[in-house]
Amino acid sequence: MERKHIINFIVIFLFFLLAAGLFNLDVRQGQKFRRLSDSNCIRLISQFGSRGNILDRNGKIIVDNKISYDVMILPQEKEDVERALALISRVLGVGIKELKIEFKKNFVSSSVPVCVVANIKPTDAIVLGEYKIEQPNIIVTSKPLRHYPYGSLAAHAIGYLNEIDRWRLTKLEDYGYKTKDIVGFGGVEEKYDYYLRQEEGGLSVEVNHRGKFTRVLGFEPPRNGKDVRLTLDLSIQKIVEEKLEGKKGSVILMDPYTGEILAMASFPGFNPAIFVNKKTKQIAALFHDSDAPFLNRAIAASYPPASIFKVVVASTALELKKVNTSTTFLCQGQTMVGARKFKCWDTHGPQDIFQGIAHSCDVYFYKAGLLSGAQNIHDYALKLGLAHQSGFDLAQETAGFIPSPLWRKLNKFQNWYDGDTANLSIGQGECLVTPLQAVNLMAVFANRGYLLTPHIVKAVGEVDLSARKNKAVAVPLKKKTVEVVASGLRRAITDPKGTANVLSSLAVKVAGKTGTAQVSRGSTHAWFTGYFPQERPQYAICVFLENGGPGYAACVVAKQIIEEMYNQRLI
């Protein structure tokens, strides 16, 4: 072949090679390169919406958000970073060493801004903003952060915010939750997280090779979370927490007609703000505290009800016609059940049902209980809302427990003896009741016979939830029974020897029952549960003090609360 043809062929071959190379890049690997190209030039800038506020029943803010200013540095040139850090240190008065440590800790890559100081004062933010021209790699961003104007107020009912954990993430992934999301833990924040939570919006922008903005490709506005309105009354909640302060236990106030929780406090508590400021040491200390400050004692813990359970026994005996208003039992300080001696806490002499409730006479209730039978007491306890969850709208509610002969037989293969009935009759033994159940039990006598579903959330956004709550259920008690027990409850205050006589000095007429629960270790638990004003009840109350001594101690706290409420004209 002539050389000119060979050259010609070589050239054709070379050009064919080019076309083949082009085909390879464009068509065979086109998708991949398109992706690489997009990732080169498209950046997402997120914009934060704010989480929904939590309001009290009157719309007053309990928890809201405030703008937090963070100082970030764009780490591109090393000297620039040094200079920027020096500037920040000068303006904020923070040691440059700490800034450098923070910078190293948060560094991701040279194109991602690094947060060096979080949550600075607005004035400092403005000052730093002034340096934008000299030091363009300092960025001050603002994002809404949870703000707790009342500190630890109602912390248990509200809960706190933290980074999502693994367990929650696996459950919530399908609902659009991502790692590093901030979600609610405990209380309303957790239960209503889906409504409260904001949707992150963002700007997708095109940048050039220097990361400089060229144009906006798309914008999705951030969406704020919905506000949640609670049934709590801020002023009552404040009083309650003030009076409970320093005593382990919980206090609940409830509207006895609607089941709305007006105040719910548990002590020891915590300040949810420490999670916002990421005070790791304090958080760890709280988690390791043996007093379990995160436990909402009002709903998540159950205790022996002791004497407040006598209300159930009285109802059962009356309802089954085992006793009537003229039945009296003689209290000699003790009685024999089978071969065992059961003591009363005092010697009361002859007692009718009113006196039995007022003096909390154990002997009266041993006898009334034995007449009624353990299984019947258990059944009526269930009808009065014990031993099962009340349907309260926060998680973590425990069911409590009331034993019965049947349960004993089925689960423990043991017989039930009269001694057990006697123990059950005074609310000891295996009985466990939550403070929420106790207040709900009182509400039945306050509203003359209806079992309510307690709840704490009134509205989400604009939607009023009260219509969706379970309706009050009529407890199958005769009107007479309720009235008799209710007047017994009033007698506990008015009777000079009544266990809650200390409350008689109040301007408000209170009805209620005390309880002193024996525990295996430490001093007794103190209960007071009742309602007021007696004629036209507005509030059902339960004061529970863990290892707080005799029921009298709980009465004192209740008295302080009611007094303060009266002074503030809330009654």
Binding site: N8, V11, F15, L18, F33, L36, N40, E206, H209
Partner: protein, 367 residues
Amino acid sequence: MRNSFFKIFILALIIAALGILSIYSSTYQKESATWQDIYKRQILWLIFGLVCFFLFARLNYRKLWDANYFIYGGALFLLFLVFTLGIIRLGAQRWLRFAWFNFQPSEFAKLAVIIFLARYFSRKSINDTSLLSGKFGIFRGIILPFIFVAVPMFLIIEQPDLGSGLMLMLVFVGLLYLTNLRLKYIYTLLVTMILPLPLFWNLLHDYQKKRLLVFLNPNIDPLGAGYTIIQSRIAIGSGGFFGRGWLRGSQSQLYFLPESHTDFIFATFAEQWGFIGGALLILLYYLIIRQGFLIAQRTQDAFGRYLAYGISLLLALQVFINIAMNMGLAPVVGLPLPMMSYGGSSMLVTFIALGILVNIDRTRNVF
């Protein structure tokens, strides 16, 4: 006759127009007005180029035979001048400052060497009209012309402009092959050139070594020397089959691709017009080169024939190496894409070469 003139003219015009579109698209996002006006300068250069094209299409190419030594000497002079007066841009000393533009003598030198070689190999024997080159021995066939090529080549490589220097060598070998020189000699030349290559490695500049290593594996230095290849491949590849569309190439317009209006203009073009556009462009180049080969084959005059071959080869190799380098198939060397890349010298020289080509076809019948 008019036919080839017309074809080459149209093809070159289309390619140059596509080049201007690409330059416009790659610079219209840039901030300063000088950058944004760069396509206007290219239009100006195109007009100059066309003037030169018409001029040289009219000028009898045999005049080049006479002026041959002046041209060659002039090219050498300019290359020397670059050493002493040249301005440094992008780390290389390749340009000469003229009144209002920068001139790159190495572009001119390529053409000058081709003219020189065409003349050298087309001397006729006194006794008969056949060419001497077939009868050349190793000295007159290889060594002497090699020296004539090596001097400007050395000057160009020292600028440093390895690409243009190697280009000269490749065109030289191609022309040698076409002059019916004995294959034995050509092999000898190739072997003597390739064997000492490992020794030359140490003579290369660091950046040149790096480029060669990066060509073998661009990922060894993704932000340094490999950056351009990676970005260029992304630009071409992201075009896909139909391209991203006019003015929508993010790689070239947002400055991710360096030199997007000069050496890497093919990537800029292919990003916007995709496989369809890129393949069409390659076809256009092939057609123009094919015209060159056809002219060479038609021409009886040996000088004209070698000149046509030389010009076609120069074009073909430049186009091939540049596009291959854009696609990461060849190491990055500073070679412009003829008629497309921004730059006056390359534009002028290419159009002069095309003018000569057309003139060869026009004049051949005179003989």
